[in-house]
Amino acid sequence: MTTIKVTRHADGEKGLDGEPRSRPKRVTYLEAIAAAQRQEMRRDPSVFIMGLDIEANVFGTTGGFLQEFGAERVRNVPLSEAGFTGAAAGAAMTGLRPIVDFNISSFMYVAMDQLISQVAKARYVFGGQASLPVVYRSAMFYHGSNAAQHSDRPYPMFMNVPGLKVIAPSGPLEAKGLLTAAIRDDNPVLCFEDATLWGSRTEVPQGDVVLPLGTAAVLRPGNDATVVAIAGSVPLSVAAAEQLAADGISVEVIDPRTLVPLDRGTILDSVAKTGRLVVVDPAHRTCGAAAEIAACVVEDGFDSLQAGIARVTTPDTHPPFSPTLEASLYPTVERIVAAVRHVVSVGSQSADA
């Protein structure tokens, strides 16, 4: 179950961002990311941020940072992904806590050797002598007519590499809470921000918001089917659940929030209750996060299952440019509803649910 740890400070009414802490504030996903970064940079002088175009706040997550924290702690990087990825790792190994902003997830590929051979492996191969408290952030810039080279959703690849933690915030609260936890974590964390959620706006408590990594959230309890959803698929799944509720189908929606370490327990507990599972994942079908989640439930929750598992994913093709073509590929409320109806119809008393 989800817990929000809100840390009270002894210093009075105002949160660390200067706003009165008495009421939560409606903020966007991007504002929530900025709030987490700003808060942590104020709290801990060893935190600094490097990224493409962050001095000018092109992506909306470093507004006012250069003025407040100075050029040493807020630095633009040249187009050298391997260079700055490794530099962040080296700085993390020697006492600092860098945040790296890749801007777009697809750019991470230029730094693959650094991410995998160095960041993921350093602690292990050096027998525990190294610790790398570094966060690498990027936005999955899909569903925006930016074509195949900008539209990657790479988290499944990184789930397959031991030594990394992977988070996928599904809204402003999650963005603030998970990113705060990630910055405070002494391990390397990859934060995949879903660009389809950039404008989403919800209430987020001010001050410290820490959502512990490795803990899934049950966003909506239910009894007839479990829907596990990732990143931008989460609000779609909640909408699908509301639609299905009108037809008397009660859907439990789970947001894993952290992909590595994955909270398998919460998912298995839910399937033990509902017997049916749909996994919704905007990554490609083959070897996506949905594949791993489905495999876990088959291995450890087989006796709970009353129907086969259904996945709603992006098919194994590249996002085409043409907007009408692209829109048809990603998970939608309609596809999620259809998948739930399908698993619920299998082996149940009423053939048509």
């Binding site: 700055f84 031991p162 490795g214």
Partner: protein, 327 residues
């Protein structure tokens, strides 16, 4: 110039590397060391001259030719041998082996086996020193082959624009396995590549430990003062094959070439220098006996140590939680 004391220390470290490597080769041949090792035999002065110019709290990143660097930096030999044997008393607890030796207690932040992969890390360690306001520097070793990797160019460029206290030390031994540097590098000297990044670059004789020391020491001084990075190219040579444990059938070097470099052996050169600087044979013999003893004790320590427990395969992945690891 190396002082009298520094010459003795240079000799100790050169001998440590030479004797360690000769022993390591034997242990690969007899099966005690699994996998392959990449001996630094012939390149000792390049390593030691560099390491003498820095402190224990300065940082160092190295390469797959990995044993000389931590030894030169002052790491204890026992845990290094134990690491080669895969024992739990190894400096990396048996998790890394030959190509990932690291001893953070003497600033050795790790050797990497993907060519040039450690260079961005070195830039980061230097950045960290600069941000923390210390006068620490970072030595980044790399070979001729590595100077063609993208990571090298990105790291050097970053170090220049951010004026980082890093010294890019090229152990140019003329070959990347069987591929000659002449065939892959379009400029006469790797030090010329420094100009492309606006940093000083110099090429010196890598077999003379005093010459190496002087060149690196100057670069270290520059870095400590806040004047940024430099590239020091050391012309050196490996007598043995690229790796012991990886036989190569093709002849790509001539006996003449190998012999001509053996005539400029770092140990022989240093002994000659020391004798003309007031050391007599007895002193050199004493030092040699001391180092032989140290190497032998280290080997005994490694042999007597236990292998890791099977649960160790899952440790040191993450700070904190064991339950994040699935099996």
């Amino acid at each position: 110039m190396l002082t009298y004391e520094q010459l003795a220390e240079a000799y100790r470290r050169l001998l440590k590397i030479r004797l360690f490597e000769e022993q390591a080769v034997i242990m690969v041949k007899n099966g005690e060391v699994a996998g392959a090792v990449h001996p630094s035999i012939g390149q000792e002065a390049a390593v030691v001259g560099t390491c003498l110019a820095v402190r224990d709290d300065d940082y160092m990143l190295g390469t797959h030719r990995s044993h000389g660097h931590p030894i030169g930096k002052g790491a204890a030999l026992g845990p290094l041998f134990a690491e080669l044997l895969g024992k739990s008393t190894g400096v990396c607890r048996g998790k890394g082996g030959s190509m990932h030796l690291a001893d953070f207690s003497v600033g050795s932040l790790g050797e990497s086996s993907i060519v040039a992969s450690g260079l961005p890390i070195a830039a980061g360690a230097a950045l960290s020193a600069k941000l923390r306001g210390t006068d620490q520097v970072c030595i980044a070793f790399f070979g001729d082959g590595a100077s063609n990797e993208g990571a090298f160019h990105e790291a050097v460029n970053l170090s220049s624009i951010w004026k980082l206290p890093v010294i890019w030390v090229c152990e140019n031994n003329g070959y990347a396995i069987t591929t000659s540097a002449k065939d892959t590098i379009p400029v006469e000297r790797i030090a010329q590549r420094a100009a492309a990044y606006g940093i000083p670059g110099v090429t010196v004789d890598g077999q003379d430990v005093s010459v190496v020391y002087d060149a690196v020491n100057e670069a270290v001084g520059r870095a400590r003062r806040g004047d940024g990075p430099s590239l020091v190219e050391l012309l050196t040579y490996r007598y043995l094959e690229h790796a012991e444990g990886m036989p190569i059938e093709t002849v790509y070097r001539t006996e003449n070439e190998i012999d001509s470099w053996r005539k400029r052996d770092p140990l022989t050169l240093l002994e000659a220098t020391m004798k003309s600087d007031g050391f007599d044979n007895a002193m050199l013999t004493t030092i040699r006996a001391e180092i032989e003893q140290e190497v032998n004790s280290a080997v005994d320590f490694a042999r007597a140590s236990a292998f890791p427990e099977s649960a160790e395969a899952y440790s040191d992945l993450y700070v904190g939680e064991k339950e994040t690891v699935t099996s």
